[in-house]
């Protein structure tokens, strides 16, 4: 699809990694079917607090977040607790080849932070899967949830302290072995420095020829933390590795965030243009997509939907999909011509849109007045 081409060089890192694209890769499960079918009665009140899965008092606090200064302080200290562990463990594991792996890792740490915060509300799979993994990176992640809040800064400081000499010598493209070795050695240091948990001091080793008084030590520790995290951001933002200097890196990051926000804006405009109703697109897509994902084989049952559709002679377009019984909504279909649709599918890219094609038949776009070429021009 030429959609990704339109998004410019900034998202170039995202473009090539097409494997996870497509709803099939989102691994929707049982919960989605439940969610979709039982959704309208649940959200009759439109409860905001239910959305957040938080107790009402906390949710109300969130609503008044920017007003009170006390919550501001709480926010900042809260971050110190939750975000500190996962991102610190990021510090030592730098060179990763692919963008999707990066996103996974970044997401994993965000997820783990959320898990800690919510007391594993959203399921234990991230944290439970973490100990089962044997890579060096995840060893470090495993140590993090076990620690208390105040200790994490210490450990990560010493961990980052170990990492700093080496990255300057290694280039980012190759040396995975080195980084893994470093990860393992720093894991040991992690575990050995866990005894320092109780102490309120930052244990930082002064390098040769550097000042050793407390202020400069603390300052250096802080600077190195910031630099480590800037490197992380460099990794995350595509095309950022080759830039030296904090200002330019920040530039890249700013551009990246801006471009992502603009993309969201354009995508929401496109969705609004195509669909007559606001909530129409998502649950219909996911309802049918959910069925097709859960059972990959097509059993050839005639659609139970009340479609005035043509004869289903083009089995091949539905070969890998199963269309479930309809959700509660009534879909006003005119007969979508399946041979045409099958042809569309042949032109599309391999895996990403094949399931989307199955699903798109269920999405009611007959009332869309916008020509798709016009939509593409917007990009």
């Amino acid at each position: 699809m030429d959609l990704t081409g339109g998004f410019g060089a900034r998202s170039g890192g995202v473009g090539p990694c097409r494997e996870p694209i497509g709803l099939e890769s989102l691994h929707l499960g049982d919960e989605f079917r439940q969610l979709v079918t039982t959704l309208p009665p649940e959200n009759a009140g439109g409860s905001f607090t239910a959305l957040l899965e938080l107790p009402p008092t906390q949710a109300v606090e969130l609503l008044h977040f920017t007003d009170s200064s006390s919550s501001q302080v709480a926010a900042v200290t809260g971050i110190g607790g939750e975000i500190a562990p996962p991102l610190h463990s990021f510090g030592g594991t730098l060179a990763f080849p692919s963008n999707s792996v990066l996103m996974e890792r970044a997401a994993r740490f965000s997820v783990i932070a959320t898990e800690q915060q919510n007391g594993n509300i959203s399921g234990e799979t991230p944290t439970s899967s973490v100990p089962s993994n044997s890579s060096a990176n995840l060893d470090r992640v495993k140590t993090e949830p076990a620690e208390t809040d105040s200790s994490q800064r210490l450990i990560s400081d010493s961990a980052i302290e170990n990492q700093i000499p080496s990255p300057s010598q290694n280039n980012r493209n190759g040396k995975r072995k080195d980084f893994e070795k470093k990860g393992k050695s720093s894991t040991k240091k992690n575990k050995s420095s866990e005894e320092n948990e109780k102490l309120p001091y930052v244990h930082v080793r002064a390098r040769r020829g550097q000042a050793t008084d407390s202020h400069s030590l603390a300052e250096r520790a802080r600077r190195e933390k910031i630099n480590a995290r800037m490197k992380l951001l460099q990794e995350l933002v595509p095309g950022c590795d080759k830039i030296q200097g904090t200002a330019l890196v920040l530039d890249e990051i700013i551009n990246h965030v801006q471009s992502l926000q603009r993309q969201v804006e354009m995508l929401s405009m496109r969705l609004a243009a195509v669909n007559p109703r606001i909530d129409f697109n998502l649950d219909t897509i996911l309802a049918s997509e959910n069925g097709s994902l859960m059972d990959g084989s097509f059993n050839g049952t005639p659609m139970q939907l009340a479609w005035p559709h043509q004869a289903i002679e083009t089995e091949q377009s539905f070969h890998h999909r199963q269309l479930p019984p309809p959700p509660t909504q009534q879909w006003p279909f005119d007969g979508l011509n399946q041979p045409v649709w099958g042809r569309e599918e042949d032109q599309a890219d391999g895996n990403d849109n094949s399931n989307l094609m199955a699903v798109s038949e269920n999405v009611m776009v007959a009332s869309a007045n916008l020509h798709p070429n016009q939509v593409k021009m917007e990009l």
Partner: protein, 166 residues
């Protein structure tokens, strides 16, 4: 071990909720801009809810858009929000024009603060970068999911237009 996919899944779940919430609380606005703002609002709220509260940006997003979802005259608020967004965008464009490498880290961090929701509240550059990292992950998830959904709609749009032309 696809935690990025899990992020996307959580986002989708929340997005369904927010779309329904919005749809039930506003009278159907026929304007494309209003619909766009509603969709944007709902998806921003969805990523913030998916992150669910331990980050500054998610809380700021929620407070920014939360009061809009609980009260009745949605359309007016959505329009107001659109106007604010336009103002912000003009400001950012102007600022971008002035940036050179000489300007330095300070101004860039201030600019980044203006981009990341709730960034103005963060004084420490350290925290700001952490927040940005987290925010980027969720923004990416938002963009990926919305692009996928939009691709579906685009394809179906192709089909219907072919039928019309026949």
């Amino acid at each position: 071990m696809n935690t990025y996919n899990m992020v996307k899944q959580r986002f989708i779940k929340k997005w369904i909720n927010t779309l329904h919430m919005l749809d039930s609380s506003i009278e159907h606005p026929l304007n494309v801009t209003e619909r766009k703002n509603a969709i944007r609002l709902s998806s921003d709220l969805a990523i913030a809810a998916a992150r669910s509260g331990s980050t500054v940006w998610s809380r700021a997003l929620i407070s920014r858009s939360g009061n809009k979802t609980t009260n009745k005259p949605m359309a007016r608020r959505i329009l107001k929000k659109a106007r604010n967004r336009m103002k912000n965008r003009c400001r950012t464009l102007r600022r971008n024009g002035n940036f050179t490498a000489k300007v330095g880290v300070r101004k860039r961090t201030e600019f980044l603060k203006s981009l990341v929701p709730g960034g103005e509240l963060i004084d420490d550059k350290d925290y700001l970068i952490r927040e940005t990292l987290d925010y980027i992950v969720y923004l990416r998830a938002q963009v990926d999911v919305m692009r996928t959904v939009a691709a579906v709609d685009l394809v179906t749009g192709n089909v219907t237009n072919d039928r019309r032309n026949k």
